[in-house]
Amino acid sequence: MANAERIHPLDARVFGGNGVVLNPVEARERISLRADDKAIAGLGKAIGLTLPKKPGKTISKGEVSALWIGPDEWLIIAAEGSDVETKLNKVKTGLYSVVAVNHRNTAIVVSGINAVNALNGGCPRDLSLEAFPVGDCSRTIIGKAEVVLWRLAEDSFHVECWRSFSDYVWKYLSDSAKSA
C-alpha cells in the first residue's frame, strides 16, 4: 500500500549571513479561533491560559501560545500532540469557532542583529522596540504575502505565513537579508 508522507514546505532549507539567520519552524498545531465575549474565559481555561484581550498581545504557557489577531480572533500555536482542537471544542459556553489550520500555515524564525532590517525590507511596520515590544504580535504583510509577525525576543521574530506562500516569503527574506 502506498504511503503519503507529509513534507515540510521549507524542508531542509537553511540561510545565514549578514547578521540574519532564517530557520523553518517544525510542524505545529495551529488553531484559528473566533469567539464572542462569553466564550473567552472558558476557551482560555480549556488550554490552560488566559486569552489576551489587549490588541497585539500574546500569552504563552508551556507549549501553547495564544496570539491576539483581532477583537474576536486569536491564533493558537501549540506543539504537536497537544490536541488543542479537542480541548477547545469541549467548551460549552458562548459562541465560538475552532478551525484547525495546522498545515495551512508554516513559520520561519528570523533572528540575528539584522533581523529587523531583513523584515523591514518587505514589511512597512515600525519594528522598533517601543512600537513593537517583545511579546507583541500582529497580522501584517511582507512583500505581497500576508503574515503574522510575533516578536519572540529583541532580535528574534516568528513569521507565520501560509504554506503556499512560504517559498516566496523565504526567498524574500533571504534576499532582503543580503542587503540588510
Binding site: P55, I69, P71, P124, A131, R139, I141
Partner: protein, 122 residues
Amino acid sequence: MLLIHCPYCEKDLPETEFHGEGEAHIDRPTNMADISDAEFEKFFFIRENHKGIVFERWRHLHGCGRFFNAVRHSVSDKFIMTYKAGVKKPKPTKKDIEAVLPPAKSTPANEPIYADAVKGKK
C-alpha cells in the same frame, strides 16, 4: 506612505495594511422589495464624491480584519480621525478641519486636471 489609526488595534499603522471601502453611513433600506428603481439606484450607486471632508469606510484588511469609519479630506488625503463601526457620525471641529486642509496656494501639480470644468469656465 500614510499612517492610519486603527481604532481596534489602537495604533497608527501603514496604509498598505488597509483597504478603502467607499462612503460611510449609507443605510440599507429596510423595505428593499418595496422601493422604486430610482430609490434603489440612489441607495446603491449614487455617492457624494465631493471635494473636502468625506466620511469613508475602511478595512484593516491585513491586520485585525475589522471595518471602521474615517473622516478624511479628499484633496489633501489627510485623516482627521477614525472611529469604530457603529459609532455615530462625529462632527469634526473647525480646528480639526483646518489641520488637514491642502496648501492654500495650490501649485498646478496638485490642481485637479478638470479644475476649469469644475469652476465652470469652459
